[in-house]
Amino acid sequence: MKKLIYFDNAATTFPKPESVYRAVDEYERNRCGNPSRGAHSLAISAADAVYGAREALAEFYGASPENVVFTMNTTYALNIAIKGAVKSGDHILISDLEHNSVLRPVCAICRRLGASFDIFHGIGSEDEIIADIDKKRTDKTRLLVCTHQSNILPITLPVKAIADYCREHGIFTIVDCAQSSGIAKIDMSLTKIDAICVPSHKGFYGIQGSGAIIFGDGACEDIGTLIEGGSGSESIPVEMPSHLPDRFEAGTLPSPSIYSLSKGIEFVNARGVDNIREHERAICEYIMRGMRDIRGVTVYNNEAGSTLLYNIDGITPSDAASALDGYGVCVRAGLHCAPLAHRTIGTFPTGAVRASFGVFNTMKEAARFLDIVEHIAGGARQKRLP
């Protein structure tokens, strides 16, 4: 296999730490009972592994382990939280940087329940963003959902200030941390965020197949269930149990992925969240500087971070990504499941090419990437010459 340059870490991180690969293998061979389903040794071993992941996530986000609800991915987590929080006639606010994992469930629940939503501007100073939220808020606003960090550009929303504002006005706050997981910490004990949704397979370096909602203390008393079924506890009533996490964990959990998540978080904590973020930022900055000297390349970033968004004149994003793939470079082109965010930054409907970085990327890869982009851009210019 040729040596790949993997710059698609915002979609899913690759490779995973060795400790994660080993953990999945060990789990499947030796521990893979069904957690919270019976009390034999393998079921208890599996439950112990899952609880370890709850503890790891809870510690990362300053929450209690029982407030960590495991799901199949971030989208499931957002659907459970959003659809459980909305009631008929409610008004919802979302930012203009949202992924379809927020936009689509919000649109669907609004159609289903006769609720409505508005979009606030997520780019600007904290005061400007809060002012726009205030402008869009109505006396029926009951829910605000926003991303912590955009999946196309390194733009971070001031979620603490947003949650403070929302608590003051009786608005339930859900934060999508799909892109910030592993590179930015939030202490829920110090914020008024009601629910955070995260994946296992991005910045926490677990394998695909699980995600989680981390609820603030007492936050989910009025949240209805989206999925019902076996919970492993309180099996006689026809309703789901009222207690967390069982209330929202119907059916068998993706425990191998959840166990990998705990090992991934161990890895992230050992490397240091700030160190990982700075490593990714430095690679991005190096490439951004290099791209300034390449004719025909437009970079959309205002600053460096974990993602870099660009286009090459005369070549579509998908053709540019395809050309990169020919050199063994993995990036993602198009709208990145975030048409709303692309409209906001002016790259809709064409989209752009996104390079996104992880802890295992190197400056050598960044230099090679620049050479390849320069070559592709040069080729595109040649084609345009009469």
Binding site: A39, Y51, E66, E234, S235, I236, P241, H243, L244, D246
Partner: protein
């Protein structure tokens, strides 16, 4: 005779188990027969009855919720 501290879920039992481990009280997580609860499947922590007082003290100290001690 066995002493069992009941918990509402496996997660709650795991949390209790971590506490008892930290204070060196030997224990194991067990299933509780559905006939002993009014709401069906539940989990408990089984301990030797001589540790019952110490276990309850440790759990209460950490504000861990559990049900009435079962002696079987």
């Amino acid at each position: 005779m066995r002493c069992i501290l009941p918990f509402i879920s496996m997660t709650a039992a795991q949390k209790g188990s971590r506490i008892l481990t930290s204070v060196n009280i030997p224990h194991k997580i067990v299933g509780i027969d559905a006939s002993l609860t009014r709401r069906g499947c539940a989990y408990g922590i089984e301990i030797a009855c001589i540790y019952a007082d110490a276990a309850e003290t440790a759990l209460k100290h950490r504000h861990i919720q559990y049900g009435d001690l079962l002696t079987i």
